[in-house]
């Protein structure tokens, strides 16, 4: 593609640092698999060889939030669990993003009752919502691509004046 052609001729290219960093970020999202219930099964199949999320640079599921910059909340979040999810999110280094996977996570889904949080956006800043119960793996990949588009547009100043690591654990 374009880059290789440059390599053969000039050996350099001109661009903006912001653009390069955003380009790197969007293609190396490391997800935290916050699989809480059935949606997690489809999240797993999105990583398998058939759907292969690694094509988009996001196959490195990390089971510690401290190595992640994307949290995929996949499943029914109860009020009790909400504190755990938030605590994990708080431990992720910024900049960080959130995908709300499935009807439960986005809106409470079919659990329209007292123990289930009716949408995780009540306590997390969600970037992309995914419809479906559960969403098909393609749908999750689509969410990832949407998120990549969003990250592509970010600039360094968007993340300034933000604490690098919000370890405000005692509050929650």
């Amino acid at each position: 593609m374009g880059l290789e052609a440059k390599l053969a001729s000039d050996g350099f290219l001109t661009t903006k640092l912001d653009a390069v960093i955003a380009w790197c970020r969007k293609n190396s999202l490391w997800p935290m698999p916050m699989g809480i219930s059935c949606c997690a099964i489809e999240m797993m199949s999105a990583v398998d060889p058939k759907y292969d999320m690694s094509r988009f640079g996001s196959e490195v599921m990390r089971f510690t939030p401290r190595q992640c910059d994307l949290i995929i909340v996949a499943g029914t979040v109860t009020y009790k669990m909400a504190h755990v999810v938030r605590r994990i999110y708080d431990q992720m280094p910024s900049p960080k993003w959130v995908i709300a996977m499935g009807a439960c996570t986005s809106s409470g889904g079919m659990y329209r009752s007292y123990p289930v949080v009716q949408g995780i956006d009540q306590f997390l800043p969600v970037d992309v919502y995914t419809a479906g119960c559960p969403p098909r793996p393609e749908n999750l990949l689509n969410a990832l691509l949407e998120l990549q588009k969003k990250i592509e547009g970010t600039r360094a100043r968007d993340f300034q004046n933000k604490p690098l690591l919000d370890l405000n654990l005692s509050k929650n």
Binding site: Y79, K80, A82, H83, R86, R87, R112, S113, Y114, P115, V117, Q122, F123, L124, P125, K162, K171, N172
Partner: protein, 166 residues
């Protein structure tokens, strides 16, 4: 004698007027007993060598909402040697502070079932070894399976983490 009859005759013999009701609906035998005698009744069912109800399968409750005696606790027990299921019921008279004896001293497995019933209906089980809530947070003030509890809960009763605006 059929085992079903054996249970009823033995119960009547031993507990006589403390038995409130015996019903046999679609081959499901259920015996309602006065709450004061519940514990000794359970002990009897378990320890009688012929009946041998060794297993407590479930403990739950009914909220009758508008009746004067609002709560009924329900016990499902099983006799492995006789392959027989029996249901015991016991209606609590105090609707404000419902209390009943715990059967954990008879069947250990009732421990968590009673905790769940306490969590959902607010029925206190006396002499329970560890009566904490099962599902809801310890600070929660309501009992969700009571009929006067709204399905969508009570706003603000369950705290959520704060979301700082960005």
């Amino acid at each position: 004698m059929e085992f079903r009859e054996l249970v009823t005759t033995k119960t009547k013999e031993k507990f006589g007027s403390d038995v409130v009701d015996i019903t046999n609906f679609r081959d499901d035998l259920s015996i309602e007993i006065k709450p004061e005698r519940l514990l000794s009744f359970c002990k009897f069912l378990k320890e009688d060598s012929e009946l041998d109800f060794a297993m407590c399968v479930d403990v739950t409750a009914i909220d009758w909402a508008k009746r004067k005696n609002r709560f009924t606790t329900v016990y499902h027990i099983y006799s492995l040697t006789n392959n027989f299921n029996l249901r015991i019921k016991s209606t609590i008279e105090d609707a404000k502070n419902p209390e009943i004896d715990s059967v954990t001293s008879v069947w250990k497995s009732a421990d968590w079932y009673e905790r769940e019933t306490w969590d959902m209906y607010g029925i206190k089980f006396k002499n329970h070894p560890d009566l904490r809530r099962m599902y809801m947070p310890e600070t929660f003030e309501y009992y969700p399976l009571r009929k006067d509890f709204p399905v969508m809960g009570i706003p603000g009763s369950l705290p959520l983490p704060k979301k700082e605006e960005d």
